[in-house]
Amino acid sequence: MSMDTRQALRCISLFAGLSDEVLDRLAHVAVRRLYPPGETIIVEGEPCQAVYFIARGHVRVYRLSPGGRQQVLARMGPGQAFNTVPPFQPQPLNHATVEALTPVTLYAIPGDDFRRLVSECPELALAILRDFAHRLDHLTNLVEDLSLHTVRGRLARFLLEHAEAGQVTRRWTQDEIAAELGTVRDVLGRTLRAFADAGLLRLERQRIVLLDRRALEAEAQR
């Protein structure tokens, strides 16, 4: 174990309130791993080897249908954890595929060690429970979004959320947007064109230019 590992774990928000003793125990079993952009970190359905804590970079968590359709479950960044659920299940399998979006630095803790530490350290168990609660909340909202809103509504909300900051943080392909919305590329393309025909947005080279906030907000309720 090194002081560096303990310091790095301390910077992960999930672990921020933990005592030095618990951090030392985590650092003792944590292994630092680096991934380049585009690298698959874990694959859905494979045996769970470890839980992962992101120190640097961003990842995409998704599931694939048998037909190859993607549903993005979450995007995660520094301080967040993934694959923390399977170690507590009778047959620990990875619940989703996780891919690095940027250069990523992770700390991996073997599933057995993680379960043992959670059972021995109440403060760690509470930190993990808080993370589970946050995750349950997120997935409940995602279920509501997918089941109660149309693709038009989901697309309008996605566009409003991602243009809201006023500064461009990234570019999206239509496949990526479709995967975020739980739909397929063709449907997304048709919906974008329908929005353009209705004057809600304008499709330009490399830009989706939003034109009518009120109409988009009305669509977002659908």
């Binding site: 566009l159 991602h162 006023g166």
Partner: protein, 71 residues
């Protein structure tokens, strides 16, 4: 000279199937010795059809999402 934003073609992923050349509505894509390329940039409308049909995911059209500024 106009600085056209064009679809990005990853020749490492491309298997030279030629679908993008055949399906481009503007006939802007041609097959070269190294693989497909946008031979007539001014004709490309950035419709993203090539991105949609490429079986290897080798062509990418990306978009920023922005609010219109008051023109």
């Amino acid at each position: 000279m106009q600085n056209w934003a064009l679809p990005e073609i990853n020749l490492l992923l491309c298997d030279r199937c030629g679908l993008c050349v055949a399906e481009c509505p503007a006939s802007a894509v041609e097959m070269g010795a190294q693989g497909p390329f946008i031979a007539r940039p001014a004709d490309c409308t950035y419709c993203a059809q090539c991105d949609a049909i490429c079986p290897r995911g080798a062509i990418t059209c990306t978009y920023e999402i922005v609010w219109a500024t008051d023109d």
